[in-house]
């Protein structure tokens, strides 16, 4: 009866604390909402609607999970789900978005940014323009006056204008003492006080957008904190938002916005870069020495464009591109072999060692365990680099070891098949400690009764392993093995640091090596075609790889579910 009273007491306490929990929880959610809404407004204000949508999702989830009374599971899952939404789902979606764009060298800015950059360019005159001394003055109302003097620029002080404004009539000149040394400028000009070096630095943010018109019609720009330069050409570009066109003063031509850049018509063929005409995605149409649809970069490769949605073009390229298709199959087969081989090898070594260490009367188990874990402890990128040195054909220690046993040198890194073996060897070294840990854990969770029962039934050690231990082990480790497969399928760092995908294979149009995985192959491909890096194409390939992997693993998970049902009960 004492215990009955205790239980009652406990129950009452629990109820009380549940009430308190509700208050705490509501307060916490309210706080989260306040923060979240603030963040949401900020994201939306910056125009990153995707992140804002994600935040809205997080807010909705948190409110639902913690305020609705019937959400047991969601309460526990929400923190993880929110984190995954931001840092796993969002990157996947973002990559999918990039795969639908022309994001590549020359097209990385947004349209607004690209226009902003273009509008800062000046017409080229072939002259650099004279530079001279700049002295800055300021009055109590924080207005600035610039005093300039140079070789052909007579000392002149005036009120500067913004560089966005058209050069206008010279502002009223201020009285400047007839001859002064730039090193010792006047302390004051009509109420404006001389700024010290530090003072000029403090107003640098304002100075960098200023120009000053001289009485002789020339203009100067502020070039550094202490110097100006006479401008030799006006602004080159002027954007007209109404017609979405850009006027190029250098060519005297108005060009219309199209996919990723501005396109100009009626351009003499001699002005167009030939490489832009022969490029495979060229839009240029020439006839009779006159070209239409000429993108700006074909006229001047230093003029940037912007990233634009281009639909499924990247995927279509992928499907049609002979350069990709020919080595693709080879890379794919090796990729699968590598991932499967890595998992099997690491799992076999790890499990074997784990079973070795299972025996309780085995001595030095702690010692062995610590040694086995060491490959895990050294930062991976470093041990890969060390392995690379050790596997060197003529100077490597691995070959020295082989020689000591009377075996010949192996060209670990420069022979096609040897390199594959080397990659697997190193990956086994890197990966077996993990499998060792996992198997050790899984082995101990196998009920000893089952093994005993099998023993009683007369099963020998191999049959016991094959028919009892391994299936049970697989049930608990299968998802990990699938995870390991997926990880190794994309094991970029290993390939990148150990072989760089090499040794290179002859007979293909594209750089491809015998140990290239899809991910390293396509990355190289996306970086080495056309005008440099092609993020759009690379993303399309990543999406395809991801889809293939995702479907395969979803199927395997279904399979493990069946496994589970068979062996579970």
């Amino acid at each position: 009866m004492d215990s009955a009273r205790n239980t009652r007491l406990l129950r009452r306490r629990l109820q009380r604390s549940t009430g308190r929990a509700l208050v705490v929880r509501t307060a916490a959610v309210a706080l989260f909402d306040a923060m979240g809404v603030y963040a949401l407004v900020s994201f939306a204000g910056n125009g990153t609607l995707s992140v804002a949508a994600l935040m809205a999702f997080a807010l909705a989830l948190v409110n639902w999970a913690y305020l609705s009374p019937r959400t047991q599971g969601a309460r526990w899952l929400t923190p993880g789900l929110v984190l995954m939404a931001f840092f796993v789902v969002y990157p996947v979606l973002y990559t999918s978005y990039v795969s639908l764009t022309n994001w590549q060298t020359g097209n990385i800015l947004t349209k607004d940014q690209a226009i902003e950059q273009l509008e800062q360019r000046r017409v080229r005159t072939g002259e650099s323009g004279e530079s001279g001394d700049l002295i800055v003055y300021r009055n109590g109302a924080d207005d600035l006056v610039l005093l300039v003097v140079g070789e052909t620029v007579e000392a002149f002080a005036g009120v500067p204008r913004s560089s966005d404004d058209e050069p206008g009539a010279a502002t009223a000149a201020f009285a400047v003492p007839a001859d002064f040394e730039p090193e010792a400028p006047p302390e004051e000009i009509e109420g404006y006080e001389l700024l010290s070096g530090l003072g000029v630095t403090a107003v640098a943010g304002r100075l960098q957008d200023l120009e000053l018109d001289l009485p002789d019609g020339r203009s100067v720009v502020v070039e550094t904190l202490t110097s100006f330069r006479v401008t030799t050409g006006g602004k080159r570009f002027a954007y007209d938002p109404a017609t979405d066109t850009m006027f190029d003063a250098q060519q005297g031509r108005r060009c219309a916005a199209g996919t990723g850049t501005f396109y100009c018509d009626d351009v003499p063929e001699t002005d167009v870069a030939r490489i832009a005409i022969i490029a495979k995605d060229s839009t240029i149409r020439c006839s009779g020495g006159i070209c239409d649809r000429v993108p700006l970069f074909a006229l001047d490769p230093s003029l940037t464009g912007w990233r634009d949605l281009i639909g499924f073009d990247n995927y279509i390229d992928l499907a049609q591109e002979e350069r990709i298709r020919s080595p693709f199959l080879r890379v794919l087969i090796w990729n699968i072999a590598f991932a499967v081989g890595s998992v099997l090898l690491t799992f076999a070594v790890g499990l074997g060692l784990a079973m070795l260490m299972q025996r309780e009367e085995m001595r030095f188990r702690g010692f062995y365990r610590s040694i086995f874990i060491i490959p895990y402890a050294v930062p991976g990128f470093l041990s890969i680099l060390v392995w690379r040195g050790l596997l060197s054909t003529e100077f490597g220690k691995v070959n020295e070891l082989l020689n000591a046993f009377g075996l010949p040198d192996v060209a670990w890194l420069s022979g096609n098949y040897q390199a594959m073996a080397a990659v697997l060897l190193v990956n086994t070294w890197l990966g077996f400690p993990y499998m060792f840990l996992i198997s050790s854990g899984a082995l101990t969770s196998i009920p000893t009764e089952l093994i005993e029962a099998a023993r009683v039934d007369g099963a020998g050690p191999f049959r016991r392993f094959r028919e009892v231990v391994l299936p049970l082990l697989l049930v608990s480790t299968a998802p990990l093995l699938i995870g390991a497969f997926a990880f190794n399928f994309n094991n970029f760092l290993l390939i990148f640091l150990l072989t760089g995908g090499g040794p290179p294979l002859a007979g293909y149009d594209v750089p491809v090596g015998s140990t290239d995985l899809l991910i390293s192959f396509t990355f190289g491909l996306a970086q080495s075609s056309g005008r440099g890096q092609q993020f759009g194409l690379a993303s399309a390939i990543i999406v395809v790889i991801f889809l293939v992997l995702a479907i395969t693993s979803a199927l395997s998970f279904r399979l493990t579910k069946k496994l589970e049902e068979i062996y579970d009960r």
């Binding site: 923190p79 940014q113 640098a204 870069a273 490489i275 420069s414 090499g502 149009d509 056309g530």
Partner: protein
Amino acid sequence: MRRRTGIWFATLIVLALVAAACGDDADNEDATDAATADTQADSGDTPAEQDEAPAEDDPPAAEEEPPAEEDDPPAAEEPIASITIWADDSRVGPLEAIAPAFTEETGVEVNVELVDFGGIRDQVSQAAPAGEGPDIFVGAHDWTGELAANGVVAPINLGDKADHFVQVALDGFNFAGEVFAVPYATEAVAMYRNSDLVPETPATWDDLRAACDAVEVANCVTVPGGEDAADAYHNYPFVSARGGGIFAFDASSGFDASQVVLDSDDTIAGVEILEAQVADGYVSSTNYGNAKDLFLTGQAAFFITGPWELGSMRDQSDINWAVSVIAQMGDAPVQPFVGAQGFFLNAFSENSLIAQSFLLDFIATDETMQALFDADGRPPAWLPVVEALSSNPDVQVFGASIANGIPMPNIPEMGAVWGPLGDNLLQVRNGESTAADAMTAAAEAVRAAVGG
């Protein structure tokens, strides 16, 4: 300050977790809900509210601060403005050494941030448009085309100062008629020689072979770009040995990517020289690390590489060595690729005027250029310093090699060249392909990539 908040916050999380874990034996009902699942959701936000205000207010406060008067010493301690420079490990030290002089003069704090060299190139294009890039970054001239096309670097008008720069460096950073960086150093490969083994400088490749025959050394010449690592750059002297190259070059319009000359007779003739050296055993199949090790330990007579190894030669080798231009293979001096190093200006910099001041008023001066050379060791691109170093034999040798060379193309299409060219040259180096096959394959791959 940001960082400290981060650490503080992380410590708090750890403490909270420890507290939650140890809460086991503590008073029952209080522990019950104090750490319910939902506290996780907001634990990331509680400190947010407190810190938000100061964090938001910081930058404007700095800007609005009344301009310091010159007789106001405390102002110097709190910088009125700052610029950020990205540099790799070999440049961080030199820049940090020279930056205080600029700070003293202008009150601008200079933050030099360490980024690995390849990372600078890749990350600038991402970070700059996002407003997170550096104001200035160190880079190689062959990035110019890509960065300019991306619109992330601003042209720099060097004005009269252009006359003070080594021409090949200016050409390197010139893309479509604009200069996009302030060069400070140049480099090209030359030939290190073990002077214990070979006392005389061989003038021609035949002399070199004779010298090797005379001394019985396991490896005559070690050149990076063999064994397991493709390296078109170090093998390029062979590609150009008979007047070959990658793209057709015109002095006025630069490289023409639509004309690939990798499979021209001249180019193949040059690579055949390499093929013959490999077949005759004068050039061993070595990657960079082994090429260097063999030379340093006296197991090779010659080592072809750049001025960046001068330091390790002085510090680490037990041998006597000398450096000279690469032995001549044809009628003309060997023509290596010339690289230039310089400072780019981020087109999205919020402090463009200060950054420009740093480059034009501070970097492009005799004192700073000399200081950069003293700290960095690469042959300078600033003529007054080059002249001042006329008695430095190493700089003179590399200077001669640079004068013989041509700048690496800086057009974006070069991205499509390094892979195929390096891979095919590697096959020649390893004796797995002939010069003609390799260069034909390389040319086709480049054409397919740039032309489609």
